[in-house]
């Protein structure tokens, strides 16, 4: 919009309802490639629902979501993930019986190009592909500083670490758009700083677009290029953080939180 680059993700008039109750009504937004966009709003505002629509877990009743020209409404999560949209869940959804390494290797599923029959032999292409993708996974492990727990079973890790694995796994998909649902929730200050650093690095080093749902408005205002505010399923504001912070509708929705802004 501002820079003249065509937006990477365009959400138009998105409406989602459960049994007559509107979780989202006519939400529209645009996200530029390589930016960090935050979605904020009170609890129950429809933030996670929006992410669920983008990543295909919910099917919107009307409206459209265009990612790099592909329509996402009606596509299933695995199709969307193959288009280059990755997602980290708010409530950790890891494969708890598997090791960190296997969790991340799973994210390379669609990048591993070998057939079922080659898998049975496990020789030649399948082996080479596994090694190549393993190298990729190791890069992510380095990047997210997970080396010490590489082979640990996920279920046995501390909450903060699991949250980080969740993010690492989404990143391992090699996405062009990364959706993070409250990646810092329930974390200590030190852990939060790490995550913020990771998010900034993701943008800087990998050029990945990041969409972030976060309650810590301080963080949001610091790192976001753009902020959208949802309330009762409606978009009430959107734009650069400094503008949004002064929007009267936002201030009304966040009564008592002005001090933070």
């Amino acid at each position: 919009m501002y820079s003249g680059v065509p937006p990477q993700l365009v959400v138009t008039d998105l409406t989602l309802s459960f049994g007559g109750l509107n979780a989202l009504s006519n939400v529209s937004l645009e996200i530029e490639p390589g930016s960090i966009t935050s979605i904020i709003g009170p609890n129950g505002a429809g933030k996670t629902s929006l992410l669920n629509c983008i990543s295909g877990f919910y099917r919107a009743n009307s409206g459209s979501i265009k990612f790099e020209g592909h329509e996402l409404v009606g596509a299933s999560p695995h199709q969307i993930s193959k288009l280059g949209v990755a997602r980290a869940f708010q409530n950790i959804e890891l494969f708890s019986g598997l090791s960190v390494l296997d969790n991340l290797m799973l994210a390379r599923h669609s990048h591993l190009k070998y057939s079922f029959w080659e898998a049975l032999l496990f020789y030649g292409r399948s082996q080479k592909q596994e090694i190549k993708n393993r190298e990729y996974v190791e890069q992510i492990i380095d990047f997210m500083e997970l080396e010490p727990v590489r082979k640990a079973v996920v279920g046995e890790l501390a909450y903060g670490v699991r949250k980080r694995v969740e993010m690492a796994r989404a990143l391992t998909l090699g996405p062009r758009l990364l959706l993070l649902d409250e990646p810092m929730a329930g974390m200590t200050l030190g852990e939060k700083e790490d995550i913020v650093r990771f998010i900034l690095d993701i943008k800087a080093e990998r050029g990945t677009t990041v969409v972030l749902i976060e309650h810590d408005l301080g963080v949001v205002m610091d790192i976001s290029d753009q902020v959208y505010v949802l309330d009762f399923g409606q978009r009430i504001a959107g734009g650069p953080p400094e503008l949004v912070a002064q929007n009267p509708a936002v201030i009304e929705a966040y009564v008592g939180e002005e001090a933070v802004l």
Binding site: H78, S81, A86, F89, E93, H109, S110, A119, I131, R134
Partner: protein, 370 residues
């Protein structure tokens, strides 16, 4: 080489390729080789009798089927209560192809050559895999409990349909020719016992290798991912429905191969060999062996097949103190079967495979205690 890989007790792999290998140490690899050699020597043991051969042979055949069930239930997390029916599909495929196509077209006299059997095993497997995929189809929409009932329905429909199809002799016995192995027709239990022991053992080893390779590939990981958390798997670009259908197809393939093997082993196919009770036996074997492990599908069938004669002997002892109107063996068989499953589920849900793991760990660390 800095570390002696024969006696190392930890993980010292230096590149990713080494990390993919199945065995942590050479000594483990060596002990497996020794075990396989021992297994090949079993027929020479002085205690081998015809009935023991039959037990071993059935164990090997059932092991193939249980590996398949373990893929469906242990790895993909879908309960299948109709696994014996898939085995039946394979057995009937082998029997009818031989009877209606091979014998009239290829003109086998009173036995089929070994190469034909080798060819027919995967063919029967593929036919059973098709049936498996078909039964797995509802998994595009369903979660596991409902799917379990669908497999039960398949079992019942299979039995009924065979019973109503004159082409399949309505469930009566269909004769399958004996196997000719390099000019010699394998007939009579003293020849069939050892022959199918070796044949079965080789099939089990080949199928287990394929199983193991599959598990360390992306397909194996996808199965486990779908079992652990199918929503997250979905977000990782794995199609959960397709993965479950694939699991059913692979499971069906293994069952089909086992069925064809059984058909040639028995020299006939009859619908009672593929009943609901057998399906439940398979589930019990997979669970007692250890769901979600390869070793489990190898140990489970041994344990349950040998449990049977053991209970019989125990029953003979108990019979002395019981009133003669009650047949103790009769009553003990289902009771012991059930109680053992319950005990395993409550106290060792990871099955015998876990004991195996602990044992292995013990030897790996030996002589240190920890």
């Amino acid at each position: 080489m800095a570390v002696n890989r024969w006696i190392q007790s930890g993980n010292y792999r230096r590149n990713y390729k080494e990390d993919q290998t199945i065995f942590a140490t050479f000594s483990e690899q060596a002990s497996l080789v020794v075990l396989i050699i021992l297994l090949f020597l079993v027929p020479y043991a002085p205690f081998m009798s015809r009935s023991l051969f039959r037990l071993f042979d059935l164990v090997l055949i059932y092991t193939v089927a249980v590996m398949g069930l373990n893929i469906v239930t242990g790895f993909a997390g879908q309960i299948s209560i109709g696994h014996a029916a898939f085995m039946g599909v394979g057995a009937y495929a082998a029997a009818t192809i031989t009877r209606d196509l091979a014998v009239p077209l290829l003109g086998f006299a009173d036995a089929v050559p070994f190469w034909y059997v080798l060819l027919l095993l995967p063919v029967s497997g593929l036919i059973a895999a098709t049936a498996g995929a078909f039964v797995g189809l509802p998994s595009f929409r369903l979660k596991h409990l409902y799917l379990a009932i669908a497999t039960l329905a398949f079992q019942i429909i299979f039995t009924w349909s065979v019973g109503h199809t004159p082409w399949l002799k309505q469930g009566g016995s269909i004769r399958v020719p004996r196997v000719e192995f390099f000019g010699e027709i394998i007939r009579g239990s003293s020849a069939i016992g050892p022959f199918f022991y070796y044949f079965g053992l080789v099939v089990v080893i080949v199928m287990a290798l394929a199983f193991r390779n599959l598990l360390r590939s992306k397909f194996g990981r996808a199965l486990v991912a779908v079992r652990d958390n199918d929503r997250a798997a979905d977000a990782m670009g794995i199609n959960p429905g397709a993965t479950k259908v694939m699991a059913f197809a692979i499971g069906g393939f293994y069952a089909g191969v086992a069925g064809a093997l059984l058909a040639f082993y028995n020299g006939s196919v009859i619908v009672e060999s593929f009943s609901l009770a057998i399906s439940i036996d398979f589930l019990a074997m997979a669970i007692i062996g250890g769901l979600g492990t390869l070793v489990g599908s190898l140990i489970g069938p041994v344990f349950l097949q040998f449990l049977d004669p053991w209970v019989e002997q125990l029953a003979d002892l108990v019979q002395w103190v019981m009133p003669s109107t009650i047949d103790v063996g009769t009553a003990m068989r289902p009771s012991v079967f059930g109680i053992i499953i319950v005990l395993f589920l409550i106290f060792e849900p990871r099955g015998l495979a876990n004991w195996w793991r602990l044992l292995r760990q013990y030897f790996k660390r030996w002589p240190f205690k920890f």
